[in-house]
Every structure is written in structure tokens, then in C-alpha cells.
């Protein structure tokens, strides 16, 4: 029996399991570039405006930090730049999908059930790779066809499509390796996000600091940017990406051959024979369940905040070093205004991402329920209130801790750069503190769903994605104001740089409190398990 026997059957089975999800994200991601084009045409209608726009972007660290540089001031080049986060979102989706179909199945014992049939050792991994790779290629095709349809250069459009597809492929390869390392799917996802996050930070550093531009070559995230569709059209980088995908899949197969089913390559250690005193109540248990994620997020946020904070001072210098840009900036309100706007928008992003922590912390309640851990906990004298409250604490206070780790680190590196630590910390504090009510609304929404319709808890992530779209792409996609208003983040005052308004803070906090309590009451009244 070949190690690939059964791959085709499992591929069809995987497609069957994802028959709703897969087409949904293929279409959503595949259509983003075409959807971005009209907005860009509106802001920058002619070539002169596009040239100016590109120059502005390339001299505005906030933009280059987030999305890299504009390599070509054509419509296609601007779409490639504006949507440059989207291939990374695709990378996350393919990775999560691949891990779900491999390590998650193995962790819960489904792999064993399948493996006892006529199925080769590598069949499941191969099927998952085939499905995610095919989806990435379809997305690439949609992107290329869409841009050619917009009358953009054919070569550039094909390479833009290839950029999307390669992002899906190469990070599916990374995920395939991650899935071999640990026994738990959560830990495999954690390793993947560290690799992707580090890659993004490398790319960001390379774009902001020309002496460190070699860092771009340390990560596939940098390679994706180096493809430069519509500009240099570097096909050899595409070959590098595809070659890496092939090597990574080969490594994953080799690792899988060297390990036992349900085991990981990384060793598992023996634990303690008795419980420490801290593990005596529901809060102690919640801490054990939540602590690894909290710590990981806090460290990630501190690194991200430190990096973003260190860039603030560079903006002023960049602006003031070029007379053309200085004039342009003066017309827009001067470099102080732009510094404040940069700080506010960076901290706004920290706020959005911190809501992701809040949602996943509350999601632990659901996974405790579906894995029947809650059944055992609640069969003891732990009340539903205290079980839920222990985890809710992480959703509400934990997300503030994560945000604070990022915000304070931001303030410290900013303060160091301007030789005034106190001022740096103080100026940025308003920017991250103001995010808290909006973060709470999203955590509260997750709680509401968990209490009332737990099967739809995934909608909380949809809501977060919607806030991300409103905040980062809303203007470019020309969304109407009522749609932008659905995001709690839209209502926050932009701090620093604008006057503080308390009304939205009170409203959002009130809404968060009400939906959290409604969710909690719903949980008290519903069946569990």
C-alpha cells in the first residue's frame, strides 16, 4: 500500500466537509482587488494624482509600515499595494484550514478512525494540501482575471494573481510543517502565527529602514512584496515561493514519516503528580486554560507596539528631510498633526487586534463546553456564574492587559526615540486607553452569542473582520456611513490629536455591559453540552 492510498477519497471528503466555507472565502478573497479598484480611481482619478499619491504613501511611514511601498503608480500597482494585507489574510485562512483538517482531526481521534481503513500514512495531509493549494490557485485565477478585466497590464495582473496564490501555497506549507510539531492543534496554530507575525514585522522593518532592507529576504512575507507586480514583475521570486512550498510540503511528509500517529515531533514532558495550590477553584482552572494564549498575545503585542513606537520619530525626520513632502504635509496640517494621526491609527490597529484576543478568550468557554470539560467542572460545586465569570475575566480584563502591553511598549520606544520617556508613554496612553470600550463591545458580542446561540459564536469573528474592513478598507471601498457606523471603533475619537469626547465611551461601555449580561443570563438558562 502506498503512503498516499486514499488521498483522492479524502480530498473529496475534505471538500464535502468544507462545502460552504470553502467557496465563501474563495469568492470573498478573490474579489477584493476588483472591489478596491473603483475606490482608488475615485481618490486618484488621473496619472498625475496617482504619482503624487504614490509618493505620499512611500514617504508616510504609517502606510509603508502597514502595507509596504507602492512600486508602480498605475491603478494595478495601487490595488496591489492597497490590498497587500489580503494575501496574508489568505495565508491565515489556508493555514487554519490545513491544521483543522490534519492536526485537529488527529488530536480528537478522527484520524485514527480513518487510518484503520485503507488509507496511506500521508493521505490526509496530502488531501489537505491539495484542497488548500487548489483553493489558493482558484483565488489567484480570480484575481488575475478580475484585474485583466479592469484593463490593467496582463503580465502584472497575472503576477498579482500569482502573489495571492503563492501566499496561500507557501503558508499552507508552513502550516503543514507546524501540524507535525505539536500534539495539540492550538499549539500548532500558535507556532504558525508566530512565524507569520515575525515575517510581517521583518517586512515592516525592511520597508521602514533602508539599512535593514535585507530583512525582507528572511521571510516569505517579504518575498511576496518583492514580486512587485506591475513594477519589476520578478518571476524568479515566484519560483522561489513555489520552490519553498514544495520543500515545506516535502519536509512535512518527512516529519510525518518519522513520528507516531497522534504524537508530535516536539517531545511531551511529564507533568506534576499533584495540583499546585493555585489550581483549586474555577479561576485557577481558567488561568491554566487561558494563560498560554494571554502570555503569547501580550508578548506579541509588546513586540508589535515597540516596533511601531520606534517608527514615530522617523516620520518627522522623513517629512522634514524632503522639501516636497514637507510642503505637502504642511498643507495637510503639519508634521505634528501627522505624527499624532500616525500614533492614533497604529494604536487603533492594536485595539482591533486586541479584540481578537477577547473573542478567542471567550471562545474558550465554548470549547470547554463542546469538549465536555465544562460538564465535569459544572458537576462539581462550581456554579455556572463562576465558571463563566472566570473566563469572562480574561475576555474583558485580559484584552485590556494585551492592549496595555502593546500600548505601553509603543510609548516606551516612542519616548526613547524623542529622549523623553514620560512624554512618550503619556502621549500614547490616550490612544490605546480609548480603544477599551470598543474592544469590550466585541468581547461582549462573543458572550452574547455564547449565551444565546452558541453554535453561531463564529459570528463574533465575522464582526471583527467587518470592523477591520470598515476601519482599514472602508474609505477605499466607499462604504456608506451607516455601514461604517456598525463598527464600534468608528465612534471612538482619534486620540492623540483630537479632543476627547466621553459620549461614545459611555455608550459603548453601556452596550458592552448590557450584551454581556444578556449573554450571561442566556447561559444560565440554557442546556449545556
Amino acid at each position: 500500500m502506498s503512503t498516499l492510498t486514499g488521498t483522492w477519497t479524502l480530498t473529496r471528503f475534505t471538500l464535502r466537509r468544507d462545502r460552504f466555507l470553502l467557496p465563501l472565502w474563495i469568492i470573498l478573497i478573490g474579489l477584493v482587488p476588483v472591489a478596491l479598484a473603483p475606490g482608488i480611481s475615485e481618490i486618484w482619478p488621473d496619472q498625475a494624482a496617482r504619482d503624487n499619491g504614490a509618493q505620499l504613501v512611500n514617504h508616510t511611514p504609517a502606510f509603508t509600515a502597514l502595507m509596504g511601498k507602492v512600486h508602480d503608480p498605475s491603478l494595478g500597482g495601487l490595488v496591489a499595494w492597497r490590498g497587500s494585507l489580503v494575501p496574508l489574510i489568505l495565508a491565515m485562512i489556508t493555514a487554519v484550514t490545513l491544521i483543522r483538517h490534519t492536526r485537529t482531526d488527529e488530536e480528537v481521534g478522527r484520524r485514527e478512525l480513518l487510518g484503520a481503513n485503507v488509507m496511506g500514512r500521508h493521505a490526509q495531509l496530502a488531501a489537505a494540501v491539495i484542497v488548500t493549494a487548489a483553493a489558493s490557485l482558484v483565488i489567484g485565477g480570480l484575481v488575475a482575471a478580475g484585474m485583466i478585466g479592469e484593463n490593467e497590464a496582463v503580465t502584472g495582473s497575472i503576477l498579482l494573481g500569482a502573489q495571492y496564490a503563492a501566499a496561500g501555497l507557501v503558508f499552507a506549507g508552513v502550516a503543514a510543517v507546524c501540524a507535525q510539531l505539536t500534539t495539540g492543534a492550538g499549539a500548532a496554530r500558535g507556532i504558525f502565527f508566530i512565524v507569520l507575525g515575525a515575517g510581517y514585522l521583518f517586512r515592516m522593518t525592511a520597508d521602514l529602514n533602508s539599512s535593514l532592507s535585507w530583512l525582507r529576504w528572511a521571510t516569505p512575507v517579504g518575498w511576496l512584496e518583492a514580486l512587485e507586480p506591475y513594477a519589476a514583475n520578478r518571476w524568479e521570486v515566484l519560483a522561489l515561493l513555489i520552490g519553498t512550498f514544495v520543500v515545506l510540503v516535502g519536509v512535512a511528509f518527512a516529519l510525518q514519516s518519522r513520528r507516531d500517529i497522534e504524537a508530535g515531533i516536539l517531545p511531551t514532558r511529564l507533568g506534576r503528580s499533584t495540583a499546585p495550590r493555585s489550581l483549586s477553584n474555577s479561576l485557577g482552572l481558567a488561568w491554566r486554560i487561558q494563560r498560554a494564549a494571554l502570555l503569547g498575545w501580550a508578548i506579541g503585542f509588546a513586540l508589535m507596539g515597540a516596533l511601531l513606537g520606534s517608527m514615530v520619530h522617523g516620520i518627522k525626520q522623513t517629512i522634514e528631510s524632503s522639501p516636497v513632502i514637507r510642503d505637502m504635509m504642511t498643507a495637510m496640517g503639519g508634521s505634528d498633526v501627522l505624527t499624532d494621526a500616525f500614533v492614533a491609527s497604529m494604536l487603533g490597529i492594536l485595539g482591533l487586534v486586541a479584540s481578537g484576543y477577547g473573542i478567542q478568550a471567550i471562545g474558550k468557554l465554548r470549547s470547554e463546553e463542546t469538549r465536555l470539560h465544562a460538564e465535569q467542572t459544572l458537576a462539581t460545586s462550581v456554579s455556572r456564574w463562576s465558571w463563566m465569570g472566570s473566563h469572562l475575566l480574561f475576555g474583558m480584563i485580559g484584552s485590556v492587559v494585551v492592549l496595555a502591553a502593546g500600548g505601553v511598549a509603543f510609548g516606551l520606544t516612542y519616548g526613547l526615540a524623542i529622549d523623553d520617556l514620560a512624554a512618550g508613554v503619556r502621549d500614547s496612553a490616550a490612544g490605546w486607553l480609548i480603544q477599551i470600550p470598543a474592544v469590550w463591545v466585541l468581547s461582549g458580542f462573543a458572550m452574547l452569542l455564547f449565551g444565546l446561540i452558541p453554535k453561531l459564536l463564529g459570528l463574533a469573528w465575522v464582526a471583527l473582520a467587518m470592523c477591520l474592513v470598515c476601519g482599514q478598507l472602508g474609505a477605499a471601498l466607499r462604504l456608506p456611513q451607516w455601514a461604517l457606523n456598525l463598527s464600534p471603533f468608528t465612534h471612538l475619537p482619534q486620540l492623540p490629536g483630537n479632543p476627547m469626547t466621553w459620549q461614545p465611551v459611555l455608550w459603548l461601555t453601556g452596550i458592552a455591559a448590557v450584551i454581556t449580561v444578556v449573554g450571561a443570563i442566556g447561559l444560565r438558562r440554557r442546556d449545556l453540552g
Binding site: 511529564l270 503528580s273 470539560h373 460538564e375 458537576a379
Partner: protein
């Protein structure tokens, strides 16, 4: 406050629906204090649903439940200090060691006896240092059993607790349950392993399709079963087939084989003895037979 209740568990006309399926359909269960009560039924009969209602995890649609004198939905926290539960499908936290889970569950219940914990670990031959994700099914089961048996509680709710245990460990489990009985604890043992129930239980309730179809002591239930008789007689037996309680009669010359309702056994034997018995083999009724009778009714019920 804690008066000695005669009934540890009573349910009256309990119903629970999940969408279109009636998981429980008028369930009346009574478990007396201090007894080991067997809760028998095929898969999907409603055993786990009943136990989850008794734990206050599910809310009954209608009917009345009383557990240790309280309402499991409203008084869950105070009642749970007095009981321990072993689920049929034990899922441990993957990153917690077995020892940590045992201590945690014990502490959440209000404390456990460390000496008893250690002796149970030894008897069940369980390494408490391994992480939850590395235990086999049987070992996960042992973790939950040790946690429950080491707790100082009045009532044990055990949902198919021996499903993953090997025969050696099953013997240890039986010893432990007999000790619990001697200490005056009440045990509700859900199972479909009939030999286990026969060996351990004082009383048995059989559940089918969400209702209790038989309930009583083993002796009472045996009374409802049939004894199989094979014998040879020296003289003629008249009208054996006409007697009430005789089934599947096969008569070939002087050899007779039949199934006799245990209640009618004396009458049938009297007839046979009158004819002169030269050899007799009789097989005692088993719980399995009773169980199979109810179970096969179920099968014919669904096919007709």
C-alpha cells in the same frame, strides 16, 4: 438540614426533547439511599440524558426531579458538594496532568482524602504525572474514577464507568463499589454490561426509549424471566402445552425442552415430577435474558 432521605433520587414523569427526538418520555426513576442502583439500557435509551438532568446540566421539559432532597437545576451548587460524577466519555484537559485533574475536581467538590487518593492510584495502577492528552481511554476513565472515589460524597453518579477498563481494573472497580456500599453511599451505575450490574447492584431499572420499563431487585426481576428446562421423563406428561407460562415447548418421545415463566415454575415441575423425571438440566434466568427480551421488543417494535 441534612435529614436522612429515604430516596436519594426520584424522578416523576420526566420528559426531555431534543428537536424532534424524545430523549426522555415520562421517566420514573427511584433510587433509595444507600443502595447500588443499576441503570440499564441500550445505547441511546436516555441514560446519559437522565444523568445530565440529575446534574442540572440539562433542564427537563416537564416532570419532577428530586436529588438528595433538592432540585438539581436550582440547587446545583449545593447538591454538587454532596455528589461525584464520572462521565461515560472522559475528556481531560490536554495540558493538565492526571494528578492535577484529580486534585482539581476533588477541591472543586470541596476536598478529597489524600490517603485514599494515593491508595486508589496504586490500586488502579495509574501514573498521575502524564498529561491529559497522552492517556489512553481506559486511563482517562481511571483518572475520573479516582477523582470521584477519593471524594467524600454521599452519592456517586457513574455513567458507564468501566467502558474502557481491562478485566483486572474492572475487578478493582467492583471492589471499590462494594466498599462504597459498605460506607453507606448511594451509587447510580449506568451500564450495559450485564455481568457488572448483576455483580454489584441491589436494584436495577431498565430504560428503553426514554421510559423505565422494569424496576426492582434482581430477585424480583428474575421472577419476570424464564427458566429453561431440559429433562427426560419415564412416563407420559399430559397437556404440558396447555399450562400457563410454558413457552417454546419441544417434546420428542420422553425428552422435553421448554422455557417456563419463573412464576409458573412450581406448577410445571409438579407435572413433570408426577410423570417421573429421570434427568433434569435447568438454566437459571439471567438479567441478560430480560434485557434482551426488552431490547428485542424494541427491534420488533421498530420493524413492524
Amino acid at each position: 438540614m441534612f435529614t436522612i432521605m429515604e430516596q436519594a433520587i426520584t424522578t416523576e414523569n420526566l420528559t426531555k426533547r431534543f428537536g424532534p427526538t424524545h430523549a426522555l418520555d415520562g421517566l420514573d426513576l427511584a433510587v433509595s439511599t444507600g443502595e447500588v442502583h443499576g441503570f440499564l439500557g441500550p445505547n441511546g435509551a436516555g441514560k446519559s440524558t437522565t444523568i445530565r438532568i440529575l446534574l442540572g446540566l440539562l433542564r427537563a421539559d416537564s416532570g419532577h426531579v428530586s436529588l438528595l432532597g433538592g432540585d438539581p437545576w436550582h440547587d446545583a451548587v449545593s447538591l454538587h458538594r454532596r455528589l461525584a460524577y464520572v462521565p461515560g466519555d472522559v475528556n481531560l484537559w490536554p495540558s493538565l496532568s492526571g494528578g492535577e485533574v484529580i486534585d482539581l475536581l476533588g477541591r472543586l467538590r470541596g476536598g478529597l482524602d489524600p490517603r485514599r487518593r494515593d491508595s486508589l492510584l496504586e490500586r488502579f495502577d495509574l501514573d498521575p504525572r502524564k498529561k491529559g492528552r497522552t492517556y489512553s481511554k481506559g486511563n482517562r476513565q481511571k483518572v475520573a474514577l479516582v477523582a470521584a472515589l477519593a471524594s467524600d460524597v454521599e452519592l456517586l453518579l457513574l455513567d458507564e464507568p468501566t467502558a474502557g477498563l481491562d478485566p483486572l481494573m474492572e475487578a478493582v472497580f467492583r471492589e471499590c463499589i462494594n466498599e462504597e456500599r459498605d460506607r453507606g453511599r448511594t451509587v447510580l451505575l449506568s451500564s450495559h454490561i450485564l455481568s457488572e450490574v448483576e455483580a454489584l447492584c441491589d436494584r436495577v431499572s431498565i430504560i428503553r426509549a426514554g421510559r423505565i420499563v422494569e424496576s426492582g431487585t434482581l430477585a424480583q426481576l428474575r421472577h419476570l424471566t424464564r427458566t429453561s428446562i431440559h429433562c427426560e421423563v419415564s412416563g407420559p406428561v399430559d397437556d404440558l402445552a396447555g399450562l400457563p407460562g410454558v413457552h417454546d415447548l419441544e417434546q420428542e418421545g420422553d425428552r422435553i425442552a421448554c422455557e417456563v415463566d419463573t412464576a409458573q415454575l412450581n406448577e410445571v415441575l409438579t407435572k413433570l415430577v408426577a410423570a417421573g423425571v429421570t434427568s433434569l438440566v435447568s438454566q437459571p434466568p439471567t438479567l441478560e435474558e430480560l434485557f434482551m427480551r426488552h431490547y428485542s421488543d424494541d427491534i420488533t417494535g421498530t420493524t413492524s
